[in-house]
Amino acid sequence: MSPEILLSVAFVGAALTYILGRISSSLRDVFSVLLSVALVAMVALMYGMSGEEEFYMGFLGLPLVLRYGTLQWLFAIAVSSICALSTVFSLSYMRGKERLNFFYFSMFLVEAGMLGVVLSGDLVSFYIFWEVMSWSAFLLISYNRGPALAAGMKYIVMSVVGSVAMLVGILSLYATYGTLGIPEVASHMASASSGYILFTLIIFGIGFGIKSAIVPLHTWLPDAHSEAPSPFSAVLSGVLIKMGTYGFLLIMYVMVGIKAFLELGSGLYSFHYILCWLGAITAVIPTFIALLQNDAKRLLAWHSIGQIGYIILGIALGTSLGIAGGVFHILNHATFKALLFLTVGAVEYRTGGVRDLNSLGGLIKRMPLTFVGALVGALGIIGVPLTNGFVSKWLIYKTLILNRHPFLTFAAFIGTWGTLLSFYKFLHNIFLGQLPERYKDLEKAPFSMQLPIAILSLAVVFFGILPGIPLKVINKIGVSLGFEPLKVSIWGLASETGALNTLNIFTAVLVAGVIVWLIFRAGMKPVPVPQDNNYAAGSYIPRDRYIYTAEFYSPLFRMIRPYLRDVVDEFYMALSKGVRRTSDKLRRIYVGDVGYYVIYIILFLALLIALKIWLKLW
């Protein structure tokens, strides 16, 4: 199994899906599921192999190189599994919508682009696949017309700015070193001056930062993720923004190298410390902005930005525990964020498109499996022990404390508490509380939606109880990037400065739970009562009049709302408005009257002649 077969299957499969869709829609559905599962299987077969393949492209005499190793395998398996589960989900979610051939074609194009980004071994193919991925994501973000068009426009403008920054970096590398293969550039940069390394890091950092949505480059994400169709939101939040973090790993550790990266700058002003602080701010402020949201998908989108802050904290610190925590959090965030977006999609599907948190409630009685999925996803993103989020956060905290960064740890902890508050609001306003009259007869989610939700929940819990299985792979990645290896056992870590043993935690909670359940059973059997048999100060209040979901944390909102304006977004919007106004004034020189244009030409010629006579410019 070699990467070029994988990529060609992906691209050809995308085109074939569109063609098959023209013939018959059920054929296209079956083919898309088979294609996505086949891609997962092919990536799984590539485990443990590493190497390079070169193809001659004839573009500036540069070859197209495809590299594959453990790091690429981890990202590729995450990409293909999340895309496969989203494809299964969209079988029933997108039923009855229009332009479905286009939807599946774009989904596979995005997946093929992401696989290409991950597997590319030289910067030209990296750039080409990066652009394919960004543009096909734009097509899907604006899929539902209306407000999604503005969201897509914001996304593509910022993404193009990032890609142009990356292009400037690539061109400067080509001009300096004459080659663009990643290993060759890495060996050249080992002897570069620190000024040039800083320039490369910043210019590539802008590109990757826009894609992975770090503060202050994050403003496209809330609109884009909330307006996209839900299965694609799962792919967007789950894996597309992780391509930015893959780029960071590439530029910081593969190309620049650990030693040069950590020594850039001095003391408090080192590049990696400032990047850590950016990560800490990204972990705190968007999490609290998410508290204030009233739209379920916007809340999840702001939390995506927050969790990327954790990943950047882990990666930028530059220790082996940090890399392990950061890369593991990439994998974990893909699972639970996709799970949460898929549950919101299921609720949206059944209630006819309602995502407003203030008008839903009590759906646990009608959609129990969806609730279990949302609960497991929320527990994972909060980081409750026995879920995979806890293990990756534990690693990040431990490395921050042991390297004496208490304020960064404090920022990370406060991010967790903000996550707890906002996910309780999310669960309470959709699933708990009072069931309104109009949703009394809602049906459960269909099977093709329940299957991905169940698989992802099992993954969250499984990786939480047995974290050693992914940690072994991540340990290999850390070693390949140049860090010291960790002592990993199947239940967690075994090291001198405090170990992690999830078996003890799991057994303790399980045994305690069983004992408490037995005590509970020993009491008298309770009487089951319906929802309206409730304490209401001596009255009997019917169902729809006793609802409390709106303004869930209103005293806290009043306190913290003035501090949580998104000033970056306001800045960018003001900038775009200023550009628009200036261009509007500029266009008024095109009057439409040929006489004016003749005068412009004569004046400009006079200016040129005057410059030549007086200033002798040329």
Partner: protein
């Protein structure tokens, strides 16, 4: 008080627990409620008997109907009584629940509360003093010991009688019957 007789605790812990931890619903019915705050605060301390006021009927097992009962209050009393978990004890406080008391010829009050809610004991007086409340509590302990404080069992077994009386005076009730009525 036989609270410190360990043998009795080991023989029937449930009954002893119900005696020495009577949680009263803090439901302020009529004029009698003016006598309750002195009872539960520092002057006549009810907490040493184990009686504390709780705010929710779901947590309570003692219900004191303190004073006259109008039709509006009767609805709330029935609803609160049905929310309480079993075993529960009710005490009629003052002379109005017994036979109408001062309002014996009013069109708006209930004269015999016993027809709508089962009552375990009465405290006579037009408002009884706090010492009378303590005598009532100790008398209720004796009744619980002998097994004669069975108002809730009577409610469950004669629910059709009680519900018919309630509907006769209040009209059609909005809430469904607590026990199955065929």
């Amino acid at each position: 008080m036989d609270r410190n007789q360990i043998a009795k605790w080991l023989k029937e812990p449930g009954k002893m627990g119900q005696k020495y931890s009577l949680w009263a619903t803090y439901f302020c019915t009529g004029c009698g409620i003016i006598e309750v705050p002195p009872v539960i605060t520092a002057r006549w301390d009810a907490e040493r008997f184990g009686v504390i006021p709780v705010s929710s009927p779901r947590q309570a097992n003692l219900f004191m109907i303190t004073g006259f009962v109008t039709l509006k209050t009767l609805k709330a009393i029935i609803r609160t009584y049905e929310l309480m978990p079993e075993p529960k004890y009710t005490v009629g406080f003052g002379s109005c629940p017994i036979n109408g008391g001062m309002y014996w010829d009013s069109y708006n009050t209930i004269k015999h509360l016993d027809k709508y809610i089962p009552i375990d004991g009465w405290i006579a007086g037009c408002m009884p003093r706090p010492e009378a409340i303590f005598i009532a509590v100790t008398h209720l302990w004796t009744l619980i010991d002998k097994g004669m404080a069975d108002g809730y069992i009577r409610y469950r077994e004669n629910y059709r009688y009680y519900r018919r009386n309630q509907e006769m005076v209040l009209g059609k009730l909005e809430w469904p019957p607590l026990y199955p009525v065929d």
